[in-house]
Structure formats: structure tokens, C-alpha cells
């Protein structure tokens, strides 16, 4: 009797497993909202990337990406992302292990997680000011001249939000390491090195690589911090996009921003696909 007629929906309680034909209507407000403010803008970017200045379809915007400034922006982004995500992932993993090995309800863990949340996700331009006060021209700690160097100086600032993000993303994986695995390794005569090399290392490897990819995507899309640090030079792609949005009037090509954004979508989608695949592999051990 599970396939009752479609007309009595709402009249009685719906049995589990039956698909009420009209119940999906309840999701329409949310779907409509997401369609207008998430799917439509994304679609517009892709659509406009192939539009000519006077309408009509063209690949001119895409081929215009192969110019000096754009190439250097993409190279800059790549350098910055690789450096900051590799350093951030390694240091963040060490910190995550230190946090995970402590009391799960302890104050240190709480402080580090709350602090990581702030620095990783909600810092924005304020982080640039913090480093300006530390190592800027009138900096408190040192008046470093290399702080303006690209990519190393800016990578240091990026680490300031990459390491916390790594802690947040990698912590569940480290928490998933079971004491029993270590005991089992020791009962079989394994040393600490053996445990890390043959048990914990391989178990954490997918989660680590996945998290590093997420850091890469995060650095790629970061805009606020670098713009507040230096807005005269276009080091990275987001700055080029920002520039093309702000000075739309003088541009030879009104859809340059769309083409640049499409380029970023392509890179991010590749990276994030890798992240979700690896995350699925890592989740096997996190029950």
C-alpha cells in the first residue's frame, strides 16, 4: 500500500519511503534565492566570457588572456598559491597534531580553534594592517625591506590565514587517529617512526593532500588582504579582475573581467574536484 494515490498528500502522515509529489514545492523559495544570487551570477560570468563588445559570440576574450600582464598575474597567483599552501599545510598539520593530542575540552584547544576561525575566514583587510604594524616601514618588530617582495613577503602574510585554515580542515582527520592503532603498532614491535611511516602517515595522506588543495584554492581566491597590502601593482589574478571591474570605462574589452573570472573558475573547479575526491577517501577512516 506504499504507492497510495497522489491526491491525499497532507491529509495523513506520510509514511517513510514514499515520495510525496508536491512536497518539493517547499524548497522553491530557497531554490529561487540561490538561483538568482548564486547560479545566475556564475552563469553570467561564463556567458559573458564568450560575448563580444557589440554582442555576438566570440573567443576573443579568451584568447586575450594570452597577453603579458595576464600571464604574469596567473604566474604570480600560481607562485603565491603553491608557496603559501605548501608551507601552510605543513605547519598547519604540525599545529593540528599538537592541538589534537591535548584535552578535547581544554582551553588551549578552544582558543586555537576560535582563533583559527577568525584568522582563516574573517580576517580580510585587517590582517594586512596587523602585518603593517609588525614588519611594515614603521613596523614594531622589524622594519623589513623584504616584506614587500613578491611572492615571499606576501606568502608570509598568507600563511597567517593559511595555517589556521589548515588546522580547521585537518583537525578532524588527526582526531580520527585511534589510540588502538598506535597500541597495535607497538604490540607488534613498531617504533614511533614505524607508526608514522606505515600507519598514521598513509592514513592521513589523502586528508593532508586534500586540505593542501583547499588551501591552494583559498589562496587563489583571496583578494582583500593583498589589495590592502599593495593596490598599485597587479600581482595576482583577483587583483586583475578587481581592476577590470573598477575601471570598466577605459577598457578596450568590456568582458575582460568575465574571461579572467572564467579562467579562475576553471582552476578552482579542477582543484576542488581533487579536494572532494580525496576527502571521500579520507572520510573512510573518520568514523
Amino acid at each position: 500500500m506504499s504507492s497510495a494515490t497522489a491526491t491525499d498528500v497532507g491529509a495523513r502522515p506520510v509514511r517513510a519511503g514514499r515520495r510525496p509529489p508536491l512536497a518539493w514545492v517547499g524548497t522553491v523559495p530557497f531554490l529561487a534565492y540561490a538561483a538568482v544570487f548564486l547560479l545566475l551570477p556564475t552563469g553570467l560570468v561564463i556567458w559573458n566570457a564568450f560575448k563580444g563588445n557589440s554582442g555576438g559570440w566570440t573567443f576573443a576574450n579568451i584568447s586575450a588572456l594570452n597577453t603579458g600582464p595576464v600571464r604574469s598575474a596567473f604566474t604570480g597567483s600560481l607562485q603565491l598559491c603553491v608557496i603559501s599552501s605548501v608551507i601552510g599545510a605543513i605547519l598547519g598539520a604540525i599545529l593540528a597534531y599538537a592541538v589534537a593530542s591535548g584535552d578535547p575540552d581544554g582551553l588551549i584547544r578552544r582558543l586555537y580553534i576560535a582563533g583559527s576561525g577568525v584568522l582563516a575566514q574573517f580576517g580580510g583587510v585587517t590582517l594586512a594592517f596587523a602585518f603593517l604594524a609588525t614588519i611594515g616601514p614603521a613596523g614594531l618588530l622589524l622594519h623589513a625591506s623584504w616584506y614587500l617582495n613578491f611572492p615571499w613577503g606576501i606568502s608570509l602574510i598568507y600563511c597567517y590565514f593559511q595555517i589556521p585554515l589548515m588546522v580547521l580542515v585537518f583537525l578532524p582527520a588527526v582526531d580520527g587517529l585511534k589510540i588502538q592503532w598506535r597500541e597495535a603498532a607497538e604490540n607488534l614491535g613498531g617504533s614511533t617512526w614505524h607508526y608514522w611511516r606505515y600507519v598514521a602517515g598513509p592514513l592521513l595522506a589523502p586528508a593532508f593532500t586534500g586540505a593542501a588543495l583547499l588551501l591552494f584554492a583559498n589562496a587563489l581566491s583571496a583578494f582583500a588582504t593583498i589589495e590592502a597590502w599593495e593596490d598599485q601593482v597587479n600581482y595576482v589574478v583577483p587583483q586583475s579582475i578587481g581592476g577590470s571591474l573598477i575601471s570598466e570605462v577605459g577598457l578596450a574589452n568590456v568582458h575582460e573581467g568575465d574571461a579572467l573570472a572564467l579562467g579562475m573558475i576553471v582552476v578552482v573547479v579542477i582543484v576542488m574536484t581533487g579536494y572532494f575526491l580525496l576527502q571521500g577517501r579520507a572520510a573512510r577512516w573518520q568514523r
Binding site: P13, R19, A23, W24, G26, T27, P29, F30, Y33, A34, V36, F37, L38, L40, P41, T42, L44, V45, L95, A98, S101, G102, D105, R110, L111, Y112, A114, G115, G117, V118, L119, Q121, F122, V125, T126, L127, F129, A130, A133, T134, G139, L140, Y160, I179, A217, S221, F223, A224, A228, D231, P238, I241, G242, L245, D258, A261, M264, I265, V269, M272
Partner: protein
């Protein structure tokens, strides 16, 4: 922990004690090494994270003459002339935070409960949409939003209109907080019980399920507020002025203005307190369950 070297009989008696402590199962020397490693790590990273913040606070307390102390930069937060005045952009940012979080809860909570109760096959689509903003960077989103906001500006030019897109930006964070809360509630059993006693679907959702996930809703609110406080990219590129954009403009016109550092420190501290509250609320939630 000497327990591991003892005969099995004694080990059994020690097991609860061993299990109670986290890094149980390690030998004494290993435990010592772990302790040294932990404190060393916390000190080094603590310094790395704290130094820039302390430097920022010190800058904010700098007097007129170099090396003197003064709270002028902190009192200036309320009176900084701009244009636009700093206080007005703080006001707008706080209003945005409130509007965004209310719209978020009103839009997402009923939808999530509805999907859990009635249209479960839809939950994967919902999850995909909610996590999508993590994949599409704000800087890309803003390119596509520019024409849409041109349309919106015909009806309303207020910076408060930013809430439309801020809801989208906060979606992944709020969704994960809410999904965790909803998973902790046995929604099916509760709704079957309520429905068999004659409750309507509205009653089930708002008087049965929602009261069981207040903590998750609070978490979603806190995360949304923290996100709105720190948002720069979209406001700046759509030429609206919120707190972060205002600070950016000040930094361009007046180098090393003290108010930059005091306002930044205040924002970060506020977000930190929000997230610390969140972590304690989360603990109460865990303890409440058996």
C-alpha cells in the same frame, strides 16, 4: 603511564583511568616527548599569531609623540570624520550582519527541516548548492553580480542591499552548523510522534524540531555575523562602503592612521569572542546528549 608494562590482570583495573586521559597508550618517555613537542609548538605558533596582533594593539595605543601611550585612536573610532564617517559604516555593517543572519535563518532553517521530513531525496542537491560558494570565489561571484546589482540600484541604492549576496557567502558555514544540529535530532521519530497526535506540519517544524536545534541556529547566526563583519571584496568592488571598505579607504588617504589599528583590533577581537562563545555553546550541546 606504567600500565602497559604491568601484567594483564592489573592492566584491566587501570583501563578506565588510561582511557580517561587522551594520549593514553603511550610510554612514559613518549608522553614526555609529546608534552615537550606540544608546548614548544604552542609557544612558537602562539608567538607567530600573537605578535602581529599585539603590534597592531600597540600601534593603536601610540601617542602623538613616538613611544608615548594614548587611547586617542580608540576614542576616534566613534568620531572619525571620514568621509564617510567611520561610525556610520560601522552602523551599516552591524545592520547588515543582523539582516543577513535573520534572512539566512528564515530562508534556510525551514527548508532544511522540510527536506529532512518530506523530500529527503532532495538533500544532496541542497548540500551541493550550500557548499557551492566555497568553490566559487567571491571575486568571481562579484563579476557576475555587477549587472544584477545595476538592476537592484535602480530601486534602492542603500549599502544594506548587500545582504542579498552575503546570505549566499555565509551559506556554507551556516549550512554545516545547521546540518550538524539537525543530524543530532531524531527528526523522523519526533515528527511521526507529533503527526500521530494530530500535529500539523507547521507545528512539527516550528514547535517540535526548531526548539531542539536552537544551539545549531545560534552557531549559524554567529558564523554569519563574523563573516559579514570581515567582508571586503564584494562591497568594495560593487562600490558600497562597509566597515572594511572604509578602513581600506582610510589607509589609502592617511598612512598609519591610529584609528585603522584600533578599529581592526576591535573587529578581530569581536569575531574572536563570537567564535569562542560558539565553542562553549557547542560543548553544552555535546554534554546535553547521553
Amino acid at each position: 603511564m606504567a600500565a602497559l608494562n604491568q601484567p594483564l590482570g592489573d592492566l584491566a583495573a587501570d583501563l578506565p583511568a588510561a582511557a580517561a586521559r587522551r594520549p593514553g597508550g603511550l610510554r612514559a618517555s613518549q608522553r614526555r616527548r609529546l608534552k615537550v613537542f606540544r608546548y614548544l609548538t604552542f609557544t612558537i605558533f602562539g608567538l607567530f599569531f600573537l605578535l602581529p596582533l599585539l603590534a597592531m594593539v600597540r600601534f593603536s595605543l601610540e601617542g602623538v609623540k613616538h613611544g608615548t601611550w594614548s587611547v586617542a585612536a580608540w576614542t576616534a573610532i566613534a568620531s572619525y570624520p571620514g568621509p564617510p564617517p567611520l561610525l556610520s559604516s560601522i552602523e551599516i555593517t552591524l545592520e547588515l550582519a543582523v539582516i543577513t543572519s535573520v534572512v539566512m535563518v528564515v530562508l534556510v532553517v525551514p527548508t532544511m527541516i522540510w527536506i529532512r521530513l518530506r523530500v529527503q531525496w532532495f538533500s544532496r542537491v541542497m548540500e551541493f548548492i550550500c557548499l557551492l560558494p566555497l568553490t566559487i570565489p567571491a571575486i568571481v561571484l562579484v563579476v557576475g553580480l555587477a549587472p544584477i546589482y545595476n538592476r537592484i540600484e535602480r530601486y534602492n541604492v542603500s549599502a544594506l542591499m548587500l545582504f542579498w549576496v552575503y546570505v549566499i557567502l555565509a551559506l556554507p558555514y551556516a549550512y554545516r552548523a545547521l546540518a550538524a544540529g539537525l543530524n543530532a535530532v531524531d527528526a523522523t521519530t519526533l515528527s511521526e510522534a507529533a503527526r500521530s497526535l494530530g500535529a500539523r506540519w507547521g507545528t512539527v517544524m516550528f514547535r517540535i524540531i526548531v526548539p531542539n536545534m536552537w544551539q545549531a541556529i545560534l552557531n549559524a547566526l554567529l558564523l554569519t555575523i563574523a563573516l559579514v563583519l570581515g567582508e571586503f571584496t564584494i562591497a568594495y568592488l560593487l562600490t558600497y562602503v562597509n566597515l572594511q571598505v572604509n578602513l581600506f579607504e582610510i589607509s589609502r588617504s592617511t598612512e598609519n592612521a591610529g584609528v585603522l589599528f584600533s578599529a581592526s583590533a576591535a573587529t578581530l577581537l569581536f569575531a574572536f569572542v563570537l567564535l569562542l562563545i560558539l565553542s562553549y555553546a557547542g560543548r553544552r550541546l555535546r554534554r546535553g546528549r547521553p
